[in-house]
């Protein structure tokens, strides 16, 4: 590539490569995307420990071309963020895109999908979570009655221990049966 500015040290790239599902080229691509969101915030050189911790505000991240049309963009940011507001630093961003890549195993994707769909963060996908999901998916076009019916049906189909909400295990069982999940839960960078 011939860049005179060294974005990451070799050791950093090695680290990232071992801990995510990307190779070095892709990591640099991801960094370019990250930086393009807010060039004034992110320096070109990311070799210092402080620069890795700079957080990009959520409203910039949802403008990423891959996420801009996604109704779950905000949830994605919140699931991967550690500060509770959805602001991601570079490592979390990298982690996020790595989960959505092709090489990520299905179980890991299911884990994070559960996190995304669990709006209130109580480790269960309850009826209110499902209603939110529906609202985001159909852009508020379904009536309340239909919302009710659909959420009932989902809980009925997925709930095994009869507690009225979906736990992680039940969610996993349901998604393990759909071969399509991996294809849809995939963002090409």
């Amino acid at each position: 590539m011939g860049n005179k500015v060294v974005t990451f040290t070799h050791e950093q790239l090695d680290n990232y490569q071992d801990c995510t599902f990307f190779n070095k080229k892709e990591i640099l691509k991801v960094f370019k995307k990250f930086r393009n969101l807010a060039p004034e915030l992110i320096p070109l050189e990311m070799t210092t420990p402080e620069s890795v911790k700079i957080r990009m505000p959520k409203d910039r991240i949802v403008k990423l071309p891959e996420l801009i049309e996604n109704p779950f963009a905000e949830r994605v940011c919140e699931s991967f963020s550690k500060d509770g507001y959805g602001n991601l630093n570079f490592e979390e961003f990298l982690d996020c895109l790595s989960i959505f890549s092709e090489n990520c195993p299905r179980d890991l994707k299911i884990y994070y999908a559960f996190k995304i769909y669990d709006y209130d963060g109580d480790d269960f996908i309850s009826e209110s979570d499902l209603r939110q999901v529906l609202k985001d998916l159909t852009k508020n076009e379904l009536t309340n009655d239909e919302h009710q019916k659909i959420t009932e049906k989902i809980i009925e189909e997925g709930d095994i221990d009869n507690d009225g909400k979906l736990s992680f295990l039940e969610f996993e069982t349901v998604l393990k049966r759909s071969p399509d999940f991996i294809n849809t839960f995939h963002i090409r960078i």
Binding site: E26, E69, L137, K139, N162, D180
Partner: protein, 790 residues
């Protein structure tokens, strides 16, 4: 990248020193964010136990590491079951990994295992980096202590190392080179990943054919070109009869018909010599051997590669996913949104799609219950209709075959090399027949009604597929039968295939393109009445399979076909992409992308098997033409292999052994063994199924027990009398009407509301579950006895 692996081991000290400060900073950062830590998930703790169990089995199954995410150590909890803080969790996880010896060896294999383990943990990146650094440090410490650091410790992993490096290099090289990456992203962004599958398949085919053409070119075509150019002075032009004739002049129409000038060029089998090429006294290069070996080896390799892809695809789409999924709604909601969509209009469309599908689902809820009560009469009527349609379709296919045969006889190509448009008649007929029949079949199948809408697609594909196979086999059989009466029959087959491919490009690709454009213009003129055309994936995938079939059939007879195929597929890609983007909209109803892939692979695989068999027969049994081609001096092609390569003559012992392999007794014995093993495996699979069913029933009964006992505990706590009902709804009803609950056997069949989701999820059949604990009536004493036991 290659040095990074070795560097990481050599510079361990350096690494750890550098990262030490780094990690400290990270830790400090994480300490501040304890409150909103990602680790505060209780289900993590629960599943952590499974992870450690899986690791301990890791020696057998590397693959288990892939299962991860939610399998973390139970030691992540402290005594009360609360999750430890993030720092302590990292500590615990590191210790847990360290306790597994096979992960902590300082050699290459365990490094890979470690990396896999770390990658599949559901921790965030910062935590993973800390864990990785710590593990490296402790490994380094250990290896220094144990002092057996021989420079050859990694020797035994050299092959593994090499393969891994080759794989990573390959993946990097092809990812960075990722063919048409930009186009794929654009298509997937606008139309979703399902349409992207068609283009992925196209790209796969292009790569496959490039692979084929590289080998064919370098081993067969290139030497022939060299030979021809060196022989330019004394070039003797022979026509098919072996008589000297002058080179026919070149007409434009020859490109399309592959006759005349092209007939004797390197395009076809006939243009290759049977001599040993000797250029500049370097060495002997026997073209016949090269021709035979390249073809056989290429076909075998492709066969193996495609079988493996098919196996993987089949397992993913049929075995792991149950076909008629009961989880319709869950699937609709959780897998509905395609995260790859980037285009605004596509997103709007997708939202509307999801909305419409949900509405449809809600409506068909009622219809489903009605359908199951179809009367006998309707069933018989449906059956008769389906039977008639099948017969009609078969009739059409046979009819076309016969017509083709007649046409072949009428337009039988004789050995006079002339350039004429008449050669194009047959391919035009063939291709238009295919196009016309596919439309006809779709139209006919509207009359049929299948229980599952997916069956319609499958049946339609099957019919078109049968049609294509029958057409091509008519072609093959006709010309192979003529091997005695005609000279150079291989050329004829090659040229027919070439013509079919070229005409197919015009008729199908450009024809479909024009059709879409016409509909687009109609839509533009009157947007309200006419809608944008939908991109028909089934039709297009069928076209791809047909093309690949032609390539398989024609390759031994026309080596240049692979190059032509590459060019054609590339053109098809761009034309289809243009058409799609300009004038199509995404189809409303799509079958799952995995199924498109599976169908495609099955199609390619079946055609490959058929071609294998046919070519096998051709090679061993059919006489080669005496006047053209590289095998002029042999009886049939396999003789080259026997006599030339293996240097076995007829009558010798090895010959007898070889031929005995093809004797019916031997072949029958092999088939019998295969049948027996298939039967054995099937019996094993059925036993597994029965075992699974038994376990499911046990699971169900346990769940029922738990529900029953918990219900009674809560009733006890509330001071109500204990009940022997097994569902709280029954309690409500029994309390209302003051009626004792009914025994459970068979109760759920009547009223689905009482049916437990678990049973439905497990697909259990209520009537057959034995009535054991939890299913019989209790009196109060017995309940108390039971409860006191816990």
């Amino acid at each position: 990248m290659a040095q990074s692996n070795s560097n990481s081991e050599d510079d361990l000290h350096l690494n750890s020193n550098n990262s030490h400060d780094y990690n400290k900073l990270l830790l400090d950062d994480s300490k501040k964010n304890l409150d909103s830590s990602l680790f505060d998930d209780s289900y993590l703790a629960m599943n952590i136990r499974r992870w450690s169990l899986n690791i301990s089995n890791g020696r057998q199954n590397r693959k288990l590491y892939q299962f991860m995410p939610a399998k973390l150590n139970k030691t992540v909890e402290d005594g009360d079951g609360n999750l430890l803080s993030e720092v302590d969790q990292i500590e615990q996880i590191t210790q847990e990994i360290e306790s597994y010896d096979h992960l902590m060896e300082p050699n290459y294999k365990s490094e890979q295992a470690r990396i896999e383990t770390i990658k599949s943990m559901p921790q965030n990146l910062a935590a993973k980096r800390i864990i990785r650094a710590r593990l490296l440090r402790s490994i380094n410490r250990r290896s220094h202590l144990s002092n057996n650091s021989s420079p050859f410790r990694n020797c035994k992993f050299f092959p593994n190392l090499f393969m891994k490096k080759v794989k990573t290099w390959y993946r990097q090289a092809f990812k960075s080179f990722d063919f048409w990456y930009g186009s794929m992203k654009e298509i997937e962004g606008r139309f979703g990943s399902k349409l992207g599958v068609y283009f992925k398949i196209l790209r796969y085919l292009v790569l496959l054919n490039i692979f084929l053409s590289i080998f064919v070119f370098s081993f067969i075509i290139f030497p022939q070109i060299l030979y021809d150019s060196f022989q330019a002075n004394n070039l003797i032009h022979l026509d098919d009869n072996g008589n000297n004739a002058s080179l026919p002049s070149f007409h434009f129409v020859d490109i399309l018909t592959a006759e005349g000038y092209m007939r004797s060029s390197i395009l076809f089998y006939g243009g290759y010599t049977n001599e040993t090429i000797n250029i500049g006294n370097i060495s002997d290069y026997s073209l016949p051997y090269a021709y035979f070996l390249t073809m056989t080896i290429l076909y075998t390799v492709i066969f193996i590669v495609i079988s493996f892809s098919l196996l993987r695809c089949y397992r993913a789409s049929f075995i792991e996913a149950l076909d008629n999924m009961p989880n319709l709604y869950c699937h609709k909601i959780f897998c509905a949104w395609d995260f790859g969509l980037q285009d605004k209009s596509a997103a709007v469309l997708k939202h509307r799609n999801i909305y419409r599908e949900l509405k449809d689902l809600l409506l068909t809820e009622h219809k489903k219950i009605e359908d199951e009560q179809l009367s006998q009469l309707t069933k018989i009527r449906n059956f008769i209709i389906q039977l008639t349609v099948h017969i009609i379709v078969f009739g059409i296919i046979l009819f076309i075959g016969v017509v083709l045969w007649g046409l072949f006889e009428v337009y039988e190509v004789n050995s006079i090399e002339r350039s004429d448009w008449k050669y194009l008649y047959i391919p035009v007929v063939i291709n238009s027949a295919i196009l016309f029949c596919s439309i006809l079949f779709t139209w006919i199948s509207k009359a049929e009604e299948f229980k599952f809408p997916r069956m319609t697609i499958h049946i339609r594909l099957l019919r078109n597929f049968l049609l294509e196979i029958s057409i091509v086999s008519a072609l093959l059989v006709f010309w192979i039968k003529r091997n005695n009466s005609l000279v150079c029959w291989e050329n004829v087959i090659g040229s027919e295939v070439y013509r079919i491919m070229i005409v197919d490009f015009f008729i199908h690709t450009i024809g479909t393109c024009c059709y879409y454009f016409v509909r687009y213009f109609i839509h533009k003129s009157d947007p309200d009445r006419f809608d944008l055309p939908e991109f028909d994936i089934t039709h297009s995938s069928l076209g791809l399979v047909f093309n690949q079939f032609l390539i398989y059939v024609g390759l031994p007879f026309s080596p240049f076909l692979s190059v032509i195929a590459v060019v054609k597929f590339i053109l098809m890609f761009y034309i289809m992409k243009l058409t799609l983007i300009k004038c199509c909209k995404a189809p409303m109803k799509l079958w799952k992308s995995k199924q498109i892939q599976t169908f495609f692979l099955i199609g390619i695989f079946t055609t490959l098997v058929i071609v294998f068999v046919v070519h096998g027969l051709v090679i061993t049994k059919i006489q080669v033409s005496k006047t053209c081609g590289p095998f002029k001096s042999y009886e049939n092609m396999s003789q080259i292999f026997m006599e030339g390569i293996l240097k076995i003559k007829e009558g010798q012992i090895f010959w007898k052994i070889f031929t005995s392999f093809t004797k019916p007794a031997f072949v029958g014995g092999i088939l019998l063994t295969m049948c027996v093993s298939v039967y054995y495996l099937r019996a094993k699979a059925q036993a597994q199924v029965a075992k699974v069913k038994l376990l499911k029933e046990m699971l169900y009964l346990e769940a029922k027990d738990k529900e029953f006992l918990l219900g009674n505990i809560s009733r006890l706590a509330q001071g109500k009398p204990l009940s022997c009902n097994f569902h709280e709804d029954e309690d409500r009803i029994s309390e209302q009407d003051n009626v004792q609950a009914m025994p459970i056997d068979g109760f759920a069949a009547e009223d689905w509301k009482y049916e437990n989701n678990l049973a439905r999820n497990l697909r259990l059949d209520f009537e057959h579950i034995p009535t054991t604990s939890g299913y019989t009536r209790f009196c109060d004493d017995e309940i108390r006895n039971r409860l006191s036991r816990y």
